[in-house]
Point group: C2
Chain length 367, copies 2
């Protein structure tokens, strides 16, 4: 029969129940009904999920591989998540840890529009990590945010991303924010020759996001922050296709913890749908990711994979300038170093602190 997605789950169960549990997942993620009620041989052979492998990885913890028919997913980005983990996400003691996707599904999704090479060309950051700050806090008017952006840009930073909480609030509407920040960054570029790129946050529905992207493109701003689990996976996939000149940095907000393993979720699936840069919580910050999780996620962002462009891992979440050297040793050059609040907390020293950050990244010797 036809190609199968191989979905890998980690399941908590005892030895007596794991086979039934694995069969249960195979049915839940395919036909979702008792197999004895199905008489169509093509459905039984070709569509019902198949338990491909069960292995014990620790006492009471199993690796389960399920073969899922590619036809149930087709080229639909939302359906990919639905069939990989939809109802199983609501069950206890199961995590989706990996997915091997057949060629047809890989070919149906474009991967990053510009990827690592495009982000390097656009920022002029070659053979080193890309530097990024974050535009905050929520609540400031566009002019005040633009002033902060200008002071960060004066320190020579490559990227300034919006806080993911900045949407289209009346105190700082998207278009006003983009216009004011673009003016501020144009001013700095004219003065210093360094063009910092602004990554505004998209919000609202698909039509609103289309309008936001069009407006930003008209101002020379061509990279965008998007939260696929808030926006909707099909919305993200649609924008990547409709705006091939745009780059996308994904944000993990609302994506939860540990039900889909982060290396798969952000490093593979978000990249497949079109993430050029992938924000995630670095180890040792405000979130609980392990070093192994972070390394594996970064490796997935960069791996040779189905002719998709690589993308840049963007570890974040409470990073500080004190960690620059350690993070660069850990992640290497194909990385965006994102330091948000810690830079802003230096207040009147912001430009100077950014310059220190930028210099440290430029001077780093990768081992």
């Amino acid at each position: 029969m036809s190609a199968r997605i191989i979905a890998t789950y980690h399941v908590t169960a005892d030895a007596a129940s794991i086979e039934a549990r694995a069969r249960g997942i195979a049915v839940e993620q395919s036909v979702e009904m008792p197999v004895e009620g199905i008489d169509d041989p093509w459905v039984l052979e070709g569509i019902v999920g198949r338990v491909e492998e069960i292995g014990e990885i620790a006492p009471g913890r199993y690796l389960v591989r399920i073969g899922l028919a590619a036809e149930t997913v087709g080229g639909d980005a939302g359906q990919l998540f639905n069939m990989l983990f939809g109802n199983t996400s609501i069950q206890e003691g199961v995590e989706l840890v990996d997915a091997d996707l057949p060629d047809g599904i890989l070919a149906a999704h474009p991967g990053p529009n510009i990827g690592t090479p495009g982000l390097r060309t656009r920022t002029g950051a070659f053979e080193r990590a890309v530097t990024s700050g974050a535009l905050k806090p929520q609540g400031l008017p566009a002019e005040a945010l633009a002033a902060i952006a200008g002071r960060m840009a004066a320190g020579g930073i490559d990227l300034i991303k919006d806080d993911h909480g900045l949407a289209d609030q009346p105190y700082s509407p998207f278009t006003a924010r983009v216009d004011r920040v673009a003016e501020a960054l144009d001013g700095v570029a004219a003065r210093t020759g360094k063009r910092t790129r602004y990554i505004p946050s998209l919000s609202g529905n698909l039509d609103a996001m289309r309008g936001q992207i069009r407006h930003a493109l008209s101002r020379g701003i061509a990279e965008f922050l998007i939260a696929p689990i808030i926006a909707g996976i099909p919305t993200f996939a649609t924008l990547v296709r409709e705006f091939p000149q745009a780059g996308f940095m994904t944000h993990p907000t609302l994506s939860g913890i540990a039900r889909i393993a982060p290396p798969l979720f952000y490093g593979k699936l978000f990249r497949l749908l079109g993430a050029d840069a992938v924000v995630y919580p670095n180890h040792g910050g405000r979130f609980g990711y392990s070093t192994a999780t972070c390394l594996s996620l970064a490796a997935n962002c960069r791996a040779d994979w189905a002719a998709k462009r690589p993308c840049l891992p963007t570890p974040a979440g409470g990073m500080t300038t004190a960690r620059i050297s350690e993070m660069l040793d850990f992640y290497g050059a194909d990385t965006i170093l994102l330091i948000g609040g810690a830079l802003l907390a230096t207040r009147e020293l912001l430009t100077q602190e950014v310059a220190t950050f930028v210099d440290a990244v430029a001077a780093h010797r990768y081992s």
Copy 2:
């Protein structure tokens, strides 16, 4: 200052750290930067999240109430989830359990288009539970699915919802499925006088869903299954507004990644955005919800709340005809009883089994 959302979290922490943890959530869900870096008094007073209450609910487990500025959310459905739980969803040991929303936010969202009264009028099911089957399995062509729908309708069922895995696959495209099922149900209605209503599953992006709804409306089909976490919360909210004549049944697929308490997630937030019926895993089925969770969720669906129409709780996930009486005693009449695979597993006895289900619901005496 202005109105606050009061978000309630359950947090695992020790007594020494809970205050810092609560302040951390308040900052994470508002400005997401060190407060000492903020000098704008309006932001400090009006925007930074505020710890309103901390209470111990069990050893090492705390209830934390945070006041979040309504301005950060505005009328944006995606932003509501982003500010209630975005980054905090990725942290360990914290669950979003409730949210009290100020009038401005409640007024910004329509609630159900038709709600319980509309679903009762459209099905002709008054003073009893509404009966529903599910159309499966994935993989059958439209004609075969329509034949199954016809056999269920012949048993007198009120609703037939699509399996949430049915999308727009080549073996059963949305429009062909709708057309064939509509014909089958028209035929049964002409013969028996009972018009079973079909609830097809929406998939793809916002534009695709708009097209699917328009096509279905042209065939007299006006209720739809949608999975907000796959489709995207703003997509769901947009469709509810654009098609006020349509009813929406929400499906929880993929929502398990978010760690939001089900009574809030489905019973309040999905209802607020426009769910007329809310599918969720009943206790004692294939999922781990407790009876208390289910009762609280159902109560939220039905509660007098901000002049929003009530909606119908739809407990599902491995239900059987053996549980009809128990479920009706437990849930009462304002409920959709959804029995999916167990009906289909009876194969050639399907019509008869549906009739038994329908008769049992009609005959039930509510205590």
